[in-house]
């Protein structure tokens, strides 16, 4: 059984259904009497809604109803909310414009929701949507992150003068400025973190059903967090009382953050199914996903580092403008603030850091968490700046990192930006990565490439991230509206098999396997007798879902705690059955044994006794079914060094990644195969940002990259195979000794790739994405 326990690369339990075409994604679900919703979306980035005429659409064949913002408002539904408060420098909370699920009076980005058409068939709903006549009064659009709040632009929201959402300074400015004044050397870098569209392969979808007998709404959603959806839809959007709303996240085809948030379409579908008293299904097409999924990143920043004569970092100063889009998405304010500035120390013992973040509104899709969320932005800025520092000081990039790393014996380490890192050995990861990448041999490879007319470059990125989100008290202090514990229930059935209910949600991460391994290891039950169940508020007691690489570090611990309770109860039951004292019962490998004897009973027998308690200890409840909540003591801090080697064709600007080496510290690995897969996917996501992907709006606010014809997703031939290894440490705050691995690659990769290109070309900086055109221009300017 240990073969399938902790540390084994068990093949995934969930794979067969996906491979056989038997997955059950939201759009795969069809119910009797189902109707279809199509949204009428604004073709303008910024306009008044002067009139909406739905009469022709209402009369179209098959159309059951057409609803607008007035209908939602009349029923008291909405508006959408942002759940995290950031206090601006004037002491006021961030500016929060009204965010109706269907626009009222005004539209604020292309794709904004104007009306919904419900019809008997999808084609009829589409035809009906074409017939909705809307008069728009077009206004100037604001799209540029850098200038949106400089006073030169059209104001978008009444509540947000100069389009400013918040101006959030953090750190001791005077001390930092003084350190800069006294520094031997100051390195400076201006940089952009390019806007991404998250692009899980399954587009968002919703299927709402209303039971007029029980007055319950069931909402199948592409969600990473069914209970969070239920809570927000109920408590803040007035869709239905929590006990009359069931949210199911069935198989979900990737999330990467984009399916955390509560979107307009989900609320409208949930409301409309009750309104028309028929099931209503909506599935985004890909262009709708581009227009109306929350986007990621989109920062413009200036970073400065003050150094002494040895290249030791004395202080860092960062000025950032972050684009939050037209409205605040569910966690939009948190990303460029707490998830960004609190990671600016990186792996370094920089004693003083001052950050100022101006978050701005524009006429673009709302911006929120996307794989890494704030941490990729911080890491790209810092790891690019460190390479500029190295160049300015004439130091090797590896050497400047060594000189500034937090010492291995300094953990737990309190950074100057709130976070206290749990464990780490940054030197070990760096040296292992240098070896894996054959850093020593690079010069010879570069020389050989040059003989072929190519430019080779090598780039390092030493990242740290905060995940395992999050200690509830810390979340509360920071202005978050929720607790970020996780819950689990582990239930033995009388026949000895086990159902594990987790509040996390798997949308590719393999929880059905990893969590079964945990239980197999702890309780000694064969893995084939363990079923992991998630994604349904009617089945799982509670949960906060999956994001921020939290599922194992938080949810896994909740499962282990529930197992602990089963073992404790099992000892009482076994002691009674074996006629021994409870204190003499030992549990190991699925067996309760009387210490020092051969008297024992299996956990399956104990479970049977608990459900058929004919001879049973007094005062012990029947049943063998325990639940647990776990609130983490700290974030967890995965870290590592990634090294990218590129070959650039200076004549075409084409960048070929010839080698990519990653050494990460994720603590203990439960299923190394799955962890490695997470690393691969993360790296590809990061390479996509570095080389290919960028959401671009025209000056008029039209999204120019609204399909896979225009937005370059990484494909198989853009990427190499990856060399992955680990340098684990043991995080003292996590009972399982685990850290989290889902976002690391997306955080570590972008600066590694860009540092390599910069190294190849001999330039100071190149913005992402480093497309052939950008690289060709940079190569020309360097020559």
């Amino acid at each position: 059984m240990a073969d399938n326990g902790i540390g084994a690369s068990v093949r995934r339990k969930e794979d067969n259904r996906f491979l056989l075409g038997k997955g059950n994604y939201t759009d795969d679900i069809n119910v009797a009497g189902q109707t279809y919703a199509v949204f009428v979306r604004s073709p303008h980035a910024h306009a008044t809604l002067d009139s909406i005429d739905t009469s022709a659409a209402q009369a179209a064949p098959g159309v059951l109803a057409v609803f607008t913002g007035d209908d939602l408002a009349a029923d008291g539904i909405g508006p959408l909310i942002c759940g995290v408060t950031v206090t601006s420098d004037d002491g006021e909370p961030h500016r929060a414009p009204m965010h109706p699920a269907l626009a009222q009076g005004k539209v604020n980005y292309v794709g904004d929701h104007v009306a919904v058409v419900i019809a008997e068939s999808l084609a009829q709903a589409r035809d009906g949507a074409e017939l909705v006549q809307v008069d728009y009064g077009v206004l100037p659009a604001v799209t540029d992150t850098a200038t949106a709040a400089d006073g030169s632009q059209q104001q978008i929201h009444e509540v947000a003068p100069d389009n400013m959402c918040f101006n959030w300074p953090f750190g001791d400015k005077e001390a930092v400025d003084a350190a800069f004044d006294a520094a031997h050397k100051v390195s400076t870098l201006d940089l952009i973190n390019n806007r991404m569209v998250t692009n899980p392969m399954e587009p968002r979808a919703a299927l709402g059903e209303y039971n007029s007998g029980s007055e319950e709404i069931t909402l199948h959603l592409t969600t990473q967090n069914p209970h969070v959806h239920r809570l927000v839809l109920s408590a803040f959007n007035q869709l239905a009382p929590e006990h009359k709303l069931r949210v199911v996240g069935p198989d979900v085809g990737g999330g990467f953050g984009a399916k955390i948030f509560v979107y307009a379409e989900e609320l409208v579908v949930g409301w409309a199914c009750r309104k028309v008293n028929r099931p209503v299904k909506w599935t985004a097409d890909r262009t709708e996903a581009f227009l109306a999924d929350a986007h990621g990143r989109d920062h413009v920043a200036t970073a400065e580092m003050a150094m002494d004569e040895n290249g030791k970092f004395l202080a860092m100063r960062v000025n950032t403008r972050a684009n939050l889009g037209a409205y605040l998405s569910t966690f939009g304010t948190m990303v460029p603030s707490y998830l960004y500035a609190f990671l600016l120390a990186g792996q370094y013992a920089t004693p003083l850091i001052y950050s100022e973040v101006k978050a701005v509104f524009t006429n673009t899709a709302p911006v929120d968490a996307s794989r890494g969320a704030g941490r990729p932005e911080a890491t790209f800025l810092l790891e690019r700046l460190v390479d500029v520092c190295a160049a300015d000081m004439g130091l090797d990039p590896a050497e400047i990192r060594r000189r500034n790393f937090i010492p291995t014996d300094a953990f737990p380490y309190q950074t100057p930006v709130v976070q206290c890192y749990d464990s780490g050995d940054y030197h070990a990861a760096l040296e292992k990565a240098l070896s894996l990448a054959d850093y020593e041999g690079f010069a010879a490879r570069a020389e050989e490439a040059r003989s072929r007319g190519k430019r080779r470059g090598i780039g390092l990125s030493s990242y740290v991230e905060a995940c395992g989100i999050a200690p509830s008290a810390a979340v509360g202090q920071l202005g978050g509206g929720v607790g970020l514990w996780e819950s689990a229930q582990v239930r033995f059935n009388p026949t000895g098999n086990v159902q594990v209910f987790t509040g996390t949600h798997s949308h590719g991460q393999g929880h059905e396997t990893t969590f079964a391994q945990l239980v197999c290891d702890q309780l000694g039950v064969p893995i084939e007798n363990i079923e992991v169940i998630h994604g349904d508020t009617a089945k799982t007691q509670f949960g906060m879902g999956t994001y921020g690489s939290r599922s194992l570090a938080v949810g896994g611990v909740a499962i282990a705690k529930a197992c602990d309770k089963l073992i404790a109860k099992g000892k009482k039951i076994a002691a009674h059955a074996l006629e021994a004292a409870e204190g003499d019962i030992e549990f190991a490998d699925g067996s309760f044994a009387v210490a020092g004897t051969d008297k024992a009973m299996s956990i399956g027998e104990v479970a049977f006794n608990a459900y058929v308690p004919h001879s049973y200890p007094e005062g012990v409840e029947p049943g063998f079914d325990e639940n647990a909540f776990f609130d983490p003591l700290n974030f967890s801090f995965p870290a590592g060094t990634h090294i990218c080697e590129v070959e650039v064709d200076p004549d075409t600007g084409v960048v070929d990644i010839v080698r990519y080496s990653a050494v990460d510290d994720f603590g203990k690995l439960i299923n190394p195969m799955i962890v490695e897969g997470q690393v691969h996917g993360g790296i590809a996501h990061g390479v996509g940002q570095a080389l290919l992907e960028c959401a671009r709006y025209g000056d008029d606010g039209q999204l120019l990259t609204a399909s896979y014809m225009d937005y370059a997703m990484p494909r198989a031939d853009n990427l190499p195979s990856f060399d992955v290894d680990y340098a684990p440490t043991d995080p003292p705050d996590n009972p399982l000794g685990v850290k989290g691995c889902g976002e690391a690659g997306a955080i570590g990769a972008p600066p590694a790739v860009i540092n390599a290109i910069v190294n190849a070309l001999g330039v100071k900086h190149i913005d992402m994405p480093a497309t052939p055109e950008n690289v060709w221009r940079a190569a020309k300017s360097a020559a």
């Binding site: 794979d15 996906f18 056989l20 392969m201 979900v252 195969m673 031939d717």
Partner: protein, 156 residues
């Protein structure tokens, strides 16, 4: 409306479709073969790949009416007697899937790659041949390994 007939996964099927109905819509909505997925509207992502008369086709690019009289194989038609097809098995063995959404199209494309390139296929060829299938989860590393292993498995 048009009446169409075709063979899908060895079974004769018929249906009434609008002229504009795509093959993928017919498969998913009328035949309830929901293993074939729709991931984009521009024939880029490859989640909808099926075989039509032995050729690999993006079923979002073909009208249902165009498949009238054809033999269609979808992801549901690969396994036999409860045994995974060698390519399906290779994806499982090599962790070539995560969320599973692109997987049916990947497996169908992979089988087509092997048909055209034989059972020994190098990494560069696999990567180039997979350009019509997008995966956001795996970084392709394990998909490439799976295709190579599946090719061997199919070669017997």
């Amino acid at each position: 409306m048009l009446s169409i007939n075709m063979t899908v996964n060895g079974q004769a099927v018929s249906g009434e479709v609008e002229e504009r109905t795509l093959l993928v819509q017919f498969l998913r909505e009328q035949l309830r073969l929901t293993g074939t997925h729709i991931g984009c509207d521009t024939s880029q992502c490859g989640a909808c790949v099926v075989q039509v008369d032995g050729n690999s086709v993006k079923s979002c690019t073909m009208l249902a009416a165009q498949a009238d009289g054809c033999e269609v194989t979808t992801i549901e038609g690969l396994a036999s007697n409860g045994e995974l097809h060698p390519m399906q098995q290779a994806f499982k063995d090599n962790h070539g899937l995560q969320c599973g959404f692109c997987t049916p199209g990947m497996v169908m494309s992979a089988i087509d790659i092997v048909k055209r390139n034989g059972s020994v296929v190098d990494e560069a060829t696999v990567r180039k041949e997979l350009e019509g299938n997008i995966c956001r989860c795996t970084g392709y590393h394990n998909i490439v390994k799976a295709v190579q292993a599946g090719a061997k498995g199919m070669g017997g």
